[in-house]
Symmetry: D2
Subunit: 361 residues, 4 copies
């Protein structure tokens, strides 16, 4: 209830601060008998890891994950799975000068107002380091979805600042996404994005952008009527990621300019005799329930708050002061956020699949 759990039937509960003892997650409700290895989970974590390229933070965090329960002889047992990453080489002294400040557009101020005290080391619980727990749990969900439903998820950077990629969501592959350090499968746009990020970095600044998510192979029928619509839960999942400020599905905000006769997706019969839609403006969801078609959505990231440029702020005592961050931070969070979007999508789809299975299959 205090906000660190997600999902009803495939339920993940994360814990940990960036500079506490450990960060991790308990996954409860995983079906038994799924083969899963540390290496499969670690592979996803490595996509999120700091220091993976020169356009990410040079921090060298140890994201080595351990499976501490719920897996026996390589298979899930159906009981809670603890995934744990110890915090190492934390340099809490780097944050000492932030102890009595509230950093602009960070959670320092709101945590202090909410709880009356805060762990000021490395953003505490508000640290993006928490997202490694999501990626780890998502790797398990994704494996199950692939094996059981042949469902796959591909996310990629679609936009950085004003640079927009030209990509066909229906054919893009994860291998293409991994071809460059910015995780944009349009290689021309990728080069320009990388240039922009380096320029922003050299200016001591940061830049935002958009990640596109694509889910293929979702069966029709996932999602619940009314409040727990599939795209409502996808939206919540994405909006819960650090630095995300917007979400839309299918035509999304662009649909607001359209007429019904333009936006409606006519139903047609495939050569195999299946009912499907001719166009995909709805993004694969009707009435909150998956159609069986491709699900596509966008996730808007603000420029990260930590910048080297000098900024105005105040101390917790209310005295005006200046702040220049030391600079072990990402100029653009999007390349490392791609596996987080993948993971959150997997968690949503997994939970909704089990919910649907319980009632209707």
């Amino acid at each position: 209830m205090a906000g660190s759990s997600f999902g009803h039937l495939f339920r993940v509960s994360t814990f940990g601060e960036s500079h506490g003892g450990a960060v991790g997650v308990v996954v409860d409700g995983c079906p038994p008998g799924l083969c899963i290895t540390v290496e499969e989970i670690q592979a996803q974590l490595d996509r999120r890891k700091p220091g993976q390229s020169d356009i990410t933070t040079p921090r060298k965090e140890e994201d080595a994950i351990s499976i501490m329960s719920g897996v026996f002889e390589g298979r899930t047992t159906g009981t809670p799975i603890l995934l744990l990453a110890h915090n190492k080489d934390v340099r809490s002294e780097d944050y000492q000068h932030l102890k009595d400040l509230v950093r602009p557009s960070h959670a320092d101020f709101t945590y202090l107002k909410k709880y009356g005290l805060r762990d000021w080391r490395g953003s505490g619980r508000a640290s993006a380091r928490e997202t490694l727990a999501r990626v780890a749990a998502g790797a398990i969900a994704h494996k199950y979805l692939r094996e059981r439903l042949n469902l796959s998820i591909v996310s990629y950077v679609e936009q950085v600042g004003a640079i927009r990629a030209d990509i066909n969501p229906s054919t893009v592959t994860n291998a293409e996404v991994e071809e460059n350090i910015v995780r944009c499968p349009d290689s021309d746009a990728a080069l320009r994005m990388i240039d922009l990020i380096r320029q922003v970095q050299s200016e001591g600044d940061s830049i935002g952008g958009v990640i596109r998510g694509v889910i293929r192979g979702a069966p029709a029928g996932l999602g619940e009527p009314v409040f727990d619509k599939l795209h409502a839960d996808l939206g919540k999942a994405m909006l819960s990621i650090n630095a995300v400020k917007g979400f839309d599905i299918g035509s999304g905000f662009d649909a607001t300019h359209l007429r019904g006769s333009q936006h409606n997706d006519p139903f047609i019969i495939t050569s195999a005799g299946e009912i499907c839609t001719k166009t995909q403006h709805a993004g694969g969801v009707l009435g909150g329930i998956s159609t069986g078609g491709e699900i596509t959505f966008r996730v808007a990231f603000k420029p990260v708050a930590t910048i080297a440029k000098e900024q105005e702020t105040v101390t917790t005592d209310g005295v005006a002061t200046k702040l220049s961050a030391s600079g072990r931070h990402d100029p653009c969070v999007l390349p490392r956020a791609v596996p987080i979007v993948d993971a959150m999508a997997a968690l949503v789809m997994m939970d909704h699949y089990l919910r649907h299975k319980a009632q209707n299959l």
Copy 2:
């Protein structure tokens, strides 16, 4: 778990199909002692009601609400409140011709795939008539928030098709919103919106748009870290409304074009000695927790699916056919959706206030 409940501590559970016996909601967890009357609830329902102007559907639905439990001598008792609206004058025969069709961009197809059967009368559970239950429950939450916290919510139509209003969210009032039938407080834009809607209507078509929501007086500290961030729950709430395809908070999608140095909101000290932010790009939420400043967000509505223009579709047996809707439908859902946005915002704020109170106050 089947999706018809929302909130954890102020928990609403809606029920009802458009052509079944009744539509309504159980509100559990309302604090005791709140004075509430049927008239106060009905006033909000009348803003959502069909037939309220010539740019809404001419259907004359009875939305008369009754309080059936949980209120004694005019005050809430702390036990579940049942709010019930009987369905009257339903013309199920109007839908007879839709029985064996799947209407484009409607939930007919997905409900059939999910449940194996569907109530084809008036969209069944997917009908927007369900939203009257949300508005009724929201009226109770809003009353409590106003009385206890002096918190108020104002939503309005900001955009219809390409017509965008010019409104200062910080000063707009509910009275201004109610000054015209399109619920856009920029009177010039409102006239153009009304013209556009009438034109679309005459063409047998529909049009989308954007509603802006503004929450004033929210105390700092509402929202939970990690998954249940305040804006993640606002996003889910809005995305669960029929026809909504997108959500953003503060600068939202526009923030993706900005540098951190442009987007960050510097902290300053007010003349009263309070810490607040100089700008409001964050939309009143940092790290998922309210700052104490104004909360602003946008909700993107697609053009409604039901149009009089002829469309291609298929029967449930998979035979291609044509469909022209009979036309008792809204050409633009936004004017009637304003109180729904208000209501969902109230439900989110109420639940998060009680959650914060439980742990931290």
Copy 3:
């Protein structure tokens, strides 16, 4: 969260006071396609109804139930089912003299302390009239369990005061339970129980007893490890019934006197080659999970609090006074509680079946 909902996947939310507008329940998560009629539900309600014999209260409450949503053409649609019973012929003036009293062993005092106000008409939300909603919801669950799993539930009165019946739980049938007005299938004991209840009634007093519940045909594997053990949820379900003060499963409290070598149930092989237990001390549950054997449990009811005999009490202002109840109350609640025990057992089994199905089937 405010306590009026039960179950996770087959979720029932009850509402209503005895003298408000209506009492009822929303059932969310019911699998679609189940045939259910008002008559099937009403048949169970009639077993709970006041005035059914001379050993129950002579109150003539209208328990006529309506299905208001979630059922279309006789089958469940998968969406929320509203079951509603209007309150009729309520004589609130009968309770006027109780308005400023706290009745001994009633909830008047605790509701007042909890909420600061209370609906004093007919015990308000604490009225046993609420249990009709449980019986109605349980009838749907029981039908599903019978059809899908061939699971059946039989409950009966095993003890009234010191009179204990001699019944073989493994062979008792619902028809036998219905053979007499006290719902004890040992006809000799039943006669003595009825005599005792009449005597207690004539003395203006009340008497407690024990109901035995038997669940047959539950598949192995229902129940969750650790907190949501099957018998823990059965226990909670039973303890939530008005006037219940104790619960045990299998040998229960008697097991505290036994040695492990006496209590352990040896595993054996049936002639059909199935593994089962030779004895049934565990009551059909091991480690919180059903074995596939018969599940048996006991539910202890206190004597009902409302008695005609004069009692000491105080006013809400703290003045000592005397109270003699007017006497339209049950001298022994057990005969009418049998269908409530049936219903709560059905709700627990249904929810656990869906939970098991979601994760493991």
Copy 4:
């Protein structure tokens, strides 16, 4: 949803098998600012620890607990608290011979039926080692309840086999409970209990009994109407403890023999002008809500299943065989279960206090 979490607002999620990497718990929703040390938690764990006396198992498990998150500079931060105990010196080979057996009255059979596979080392997730996580979490809840409400919990062994202690629940102290190794504050009865346990142990057998729980200082108003009655949640909490088969509150099963005029607790006025009850048959709860008086309940434990005496059983392949356990097991689980009862009571009271605070304070 898979059963390893407890509580709504003070929510504990346990994980871990006896022979996996670690056992522990995530506590989410703890109010911020509570001072808590590892030593305070360890003190409770030491009461549960194996090997603490000659009447408990001689296993030497390492129950050393670490606080891995959610506590900063000695105080809770309001974010999830991870409490972790690594498994050390596990002798999985001791269990090798049990790999293909289903032990009588153990969870081997039901886990296998539920999940299709099981971790056969040391009972896996069904191991009582899981309860150390409950004790650790309960220590935090108990500390908060003592500091904030002056609420205290005392549990003790009331009965072992047929030996029943004579103790006044209203005056017994935790110091008295700790005076002997059986944790029965009636020293005469304690000696006889210890003798009985030693005798049972020498026979290679086990014995059951009853623990009494007493909660003092609970304010009036805790517990929810209808399903989440305080005693229903206490009952579920206790029934979820390994080897527990029964629960009752106040007069409990004994109340079934009483008349209403004997059982009802008259309300009186104290010399301080407070309303309270003259007698305590209800056990401190009316209508599911605490009265402000002492809460007393009983918990029935069966004799533990693991015994050295030879027993009949079958292999997982369905072949009859014999089993004699090796003997590092408790002949009577009650002395070590006392802190578990304390802990579960603390978790229930804590959660209900926060729920009450959210809605009504």
